[in-house]
Subunit: 253 residues, 2 copies
């Protein structure tokens, strides 16, 4: 929560620079070796948790705004963010309205406005990122999906909707290019799907289905070393992978 | 295009009642017996074509706004509209800006603002609807996808994005409950998919895949009358259909 002075400064700056009524919130899922997490911000000195979000500059394209906001709030840069839903319940920002309504007259008060928020999501390797909080937050953390804090506003709904979207996306688009090593075994890829879906999958069905999509190339040589029965190695066929991203899987209609 | 007087009245009303910077546009696809069309508006006395769209009341939920706008502009009521994308290029409403900029000072001029537009789409039986234009439009028409007018603003992009979304949706969600009669043959259902995809599909693959989704119930009795080899009749299994709408098709992960 901002102090009265902080609020006044923030509102003056916001009215000058940002589009009113519109915000952006980012759901960044992180995966590494079978574990799924999500990036959350904790506000200074309070037990208030948010997804990383912010406002759009008056002349900024939305995609650019989403990337800038994520970078400003968490230092994460060059993340591929996908728009997934606009949240527009007229009461969704009421908590902020109530929090600040006595500190500043409505005319000057940025938070006296209703805000629609545009949700963006991304899936990254959390092992390769080092998120840091901005001046408004005390910490920026990766939290497991089974260990989420109580979010402010409708951020729990935004997270749930992003997760549902990601799970649905597994049915029609490839995933994992930026999460898997160049070569990987089928069980390693299966772990990614299992982490997103939060359930065990049948090994044989998984392999049959994945191979059916035609986005994997099998290496001639199995992985070296160790095991008696060395597993086959796969890599993504980038041309087919990109085509499937655009058009959905082959074996579609 | 509005007259100066019309513009002044419209802007005064808009500033009083609507959220600035945000609009909604609706892409209504119509299907009937193998033919796909889309609903378009032609502005009075001009060769200007738009998708049906409008603005959101200051305290209105987005879904409600989308339905109200479609009803006001075309008289179509109780249509299930799905949100699919926000279009936020800072230049997307420049055509309206230029059209009206000399008629009214920027401070009073609603169209001096940048607008993000939230796209909604629907798929209905055009045979069962009778769209009519509002006061701002001269006509409201169903146009074939191969016979589209030149749209103003970015409405061609909005339509294309809606069509891509609908086509992708065929890969992971059922479609057609409100378009097919209670009982239908497999070739009749195939026609719907072929119209949306604008391509011929293999009869056997189509049948195998559709049956695999587990959303169809086959009637014990084939269709009566006429043909030597009467075709089987199917209906949607509503419970499985609804589940697949929520979770994606079985045979997903």
């Amino acid at each position: 929560m901002l102090t009265k002075k902080g609020l006044k400064e923030f509102c003056a700056d916001a009215r000058e620079n940002y589009l009113p009524h519109i915000s952006i919130d980012c759901v960044v899922f992180g995966f590494h070796e079978g574990i799924m997490k999500v990036l959350v911000l904790k506000v200074q000195n309070e037990d208030e948790w948010y997804l990383p979000g912010g406002f759009m500059l008056k002349n900024e394209p939305i995609e650019k705004a989403a990337n800038r906001i994520l970078k400003e709030r968490t230092t994460l840069d060059k993340i591929f963010l996908q728009q997934f839903h606009v949240f527009g319940d007229p009461e969704r920002s009421k908590e902020h309205f109530d929090m600040y309504k006595d500190m500043l007259p409505a005319k000057e008060n940025w938070f006296a406005n209703r805000f629609l928020t545009i949700g963006y999501y991304a899936l990254v390797d959390f092992f390769e990122t080092s998120p840091n909080p901005d001046q408004f937050a005390e910490s920026c953390q990766w939290r497991g999906l089974d260990d989420l804090p109580d979010f402010k506003l409708d951020h729990a709904l935004i997270l749930k909707t992003a997760l549902d979207t990601l799970r649905l996306q597994l049915n029609y688009q490839p995933i994992g290019y930026n999460l898997m090593p160049k070569e990987f075994t089928m069980p390693e890829l299966q772990k990614l799907y299992e982490a997103i879906l939060d359930k065990k999958l049948d090994r044989r069905n998984f392999q049959r289905r994945m191979l059916g999509f035609g986005i994997l190339t099998r290496s001639d040589e199995p992985r070296k070393g160790g095991a008696h029965k060395a597993p086959y190695l796969y890599s993504f066929d980038l041309e087919n992978y990109e085509a499937a991203l655009r058009e959905g899987f082959k074996g579609g209609w």
